[in-house]
Structures are given as structure tokens and as C-alpha cells.
Symmetry: C2
Subunit: 206 residues, 2 copies
């Protein structure tokens, strides 16, 4: 039950989940491990090994039942337990994330946004209100947010992250292109879009 | 010179690069491997090993010269050679990426955007024009784009990706939450924001 799954396996499972969602949208009921493997350019045995970690009851003659396998991934990765988040920084990226309805399907509820720009404060984006950053500490505690999504400019990221930590939020999804210096009990997920581009660009040299 | 660096090491180097950029902004001239290691919660020996793969001349008594180390990473990861890209899908995320000036510093030039929405076509975002998707094949070849950044909705992603491949673009940075089924000579980098969230959410269960 509580077998720990490696970060790479979790990452692959989220891609399997993508594929299964596409199959459901196309009304396809079964899928085989070679089909999944081929779409991801990985080894069939890898797919079978990953799936063996799941509590998956949906086996069939050709491989797996799509809906059951999807549910097993959801249960194992824990996204049937919803998480509440607030977005700090209502710039282009913060707004894009606030409008991204797909999050809700995966158990991420965006409660509100925070910004310093007086012209934005009080407006509503996709049903979520933009508050002044000055109200952050008070509201973050009232809202019982599990995590903060940080989309402020690089220069403001470190100070804003300290403010988040002061409000007792222990999980930060950091989209600012900077490495935060925070207490070790705070978990940071660095999205690092530029870094991802650079990894891709590195492959383009081949 | 052409030693191949692992994907994980490339990923760490992009984070070192983030830290070095911050140090330069703060006018700090030197950095040590334990300083880098502590910010990233990784092992000092790992940092030193990664840096040993670089052609880095900037060693000093306390560790490394910040500017020289940054330049060595840039040279090794090849982002001193600019790449041209076009964004397909001028929705919230596409617009956010078009407005993200940081890309230029890392050698990514966004040339133009493409969309199906008649009200957007012809408008300019951050100096880049939004064209009709109908003109894509002709313009993509004229513009000599190295890569396409795909930010269309999930339902449109596969067909749009095939259109990109038809226009002879071999690199796709895919932000759509779907796995693309494409010829094996096309390189796809799946950004998979939801997947990243799910990995983070999985850690939150600990």
C-alpha cells in the first residue's frame, strides 16, 4: 500500500494518465502495454513494471481496462484527495494558471490570487478573486491553503517566498526562474520553464 | 568536448545557472560548491562532479568565479546558439509565453504566434504578430523556425502536431496535456504541467 514509487515512475504514470484520458475521450475501452510504450518511446517492460506497482484490478485479455487503470493511477498518486492552492502573482502566467480549468479534474482547487497591482485587486478571474498581497497572511490562514503557486517576477520571488513560509504554508510550486533559499522543512517544486527549455535545446544539438 | 551529459545533470545545471544569475544581480563574485548544494538540498560532491564536466576556467580560492561558471554552463548547454520558435495557440498560456522576455536571454527567439481565433489574428503581442493557422505551413518554412511551442487545447493537439511535422519542424515543446503520436524522428518535450503538479502532490502525501 505505502510502497514508495520513484519520482521518474510517478512522472511516467502521469503520462500514462494523459494517454488513458485521451482513450476515454475516444471511447476506447482497452489498452496494451506496447501501445503505451510506443507512444512514449519507452520499453514495454518498463510500462508493465510501473503498472505492477498500482493496485490495478482492470486486467483483460489484450492488456488493461482503460477506466480501471486510470482510477488505479489516480488512487496511487493521491489526486483523489483535493489540494487547495493560492496563486501569488496575477501576471500573465498566474492568470493562465487561474484560468486552467483542467486543474480541478486533478484535485487542485485554486482558491484565490494575490498581487500588488492596485488595478487588478478586487477583480475576478475564472471565479477567483484577486486580493492585495497585504492581506495575504490573514487570508492564507483563513483559507487553509495547502500550497502556494509562486508566479511573481524573479526579483520579488525570495521575499514573497519568505512571506508564504511565514503564513505557515509548507508547499510552494515555484514558477519564478530563481532558486529560493528557505527553511529545509518547506518543500519547493521548481517548475523552471527556462531550465526545461535548456534541456530540450541541449538535445537539439545532437 | 562532446562528452554527453545526463538529463538529470543538465537539469541541475540549469538550476545552478539560476543561482549564478541571482548572484550576479546581487554583485557577488564568487560561490562555493557547498553554497550551491545547500540551496538545492543536494550533495556537495554532486555539485563538484557536475561542474567537472564543464570547461570551466573560473576556479578561485573559495570555489568558483560566478561569471566564468555561468559562461561555462551556457557554452556547454549550447544556449549561446539562438533557436527560433513559433507558438501555436494564442490562449492564456501561449500569450504568457510570448510575453516572457526572459526567453531571449537564454537564446530562444519567439518569431510569431498562430491561432484560429479571427479576433486575435493580426494583433501584436510583445512585438510578435498573431497569424492565422491557415498560413502556418507557408510561414513556418519562410521563418525557418527550429521548433514549435504547442499550447492549443488538448482536443486540437494531435492534429496540430501533425501539421507542425508536415511543415518539417522536428522539435515540439508540448504544453498541451496530451501525449502526441508522431513519427519517431520528431523530438517532443512534454511540459505536462498537470503531471508536474501530480508529482508534487504525491510528495505532499508523505
Amino acid at each position: 500500500m505505502n510502497k514508495k514509487i520513484s519520482e521518474k515512475a510517478v512522472s511516467r504514470m502521469t503520462l500514462y494518465h494523459c494517454i488513458l484520458t485521451d482513450y476515454i475521450n475516444k471511447n476506447i475501452e482497452t489498452i496494451s502495454s506496447p501501445q503505451i510504450a510506443s507512444l512514449l518511446n519507452i520499453d514495454d517492460s518498463q510500462v508493465r513494471k510501473d503498472i505492477s506497482f498500482l493496485n490495478n484490478s482492470g486486467k483483460c485479455r489484450v492488456g488493461y481496462l482503460v477506466k480501471e487503470l486510470k482510477a488505479a493511477i489516480e488512487k496511487t498518486l493521491g489526486f483523489t484527495k483535493p489540494k487547495n492552492a493560492i496563486i501569488i502573482g496575477a501576471g500573465n502566467l498566474g492568470m493562465a494558471l487561474a484560468k486552467y480549468d483542467n486543474f480541478t479534474n486533478y484535485g487542485l482547487n485554486v482558491l484565490a490570487l494575490f498581487d500588488t497591482d492596485a488595478t487588478k485587486i478586487g477583480t475576478i478571474v475564472n471565479g477567483k478573486k484577486i486580493y492585495s498581497i497585504k492581506e495575504f497572511k490573514k487570508l492564507a490562514q483563513q483559507m487553509k491553503s495547502d500550497m502556494a503557486i509562486l508566479t511573481v517576477p524573479r526579483e520579488a520571488a525570495q521575499d514573497t517566498a519568505l512571506m508564504i513560509v511565514n503564513a505557515k504554508i509548507k508547499y510552494i510550486w515555484n514558477f519564478s526562474p530563481t532558486v529560493l533559499d528557505l527553511p529545509k522543512d518547506v518543500q519547493v517544486w521548481n517548475e523552471n520553464l527556462m531550465g526545461n527549455f535548456l534541456q530540450f535545446a541541449y538535445k537539439m544539438q545532437d
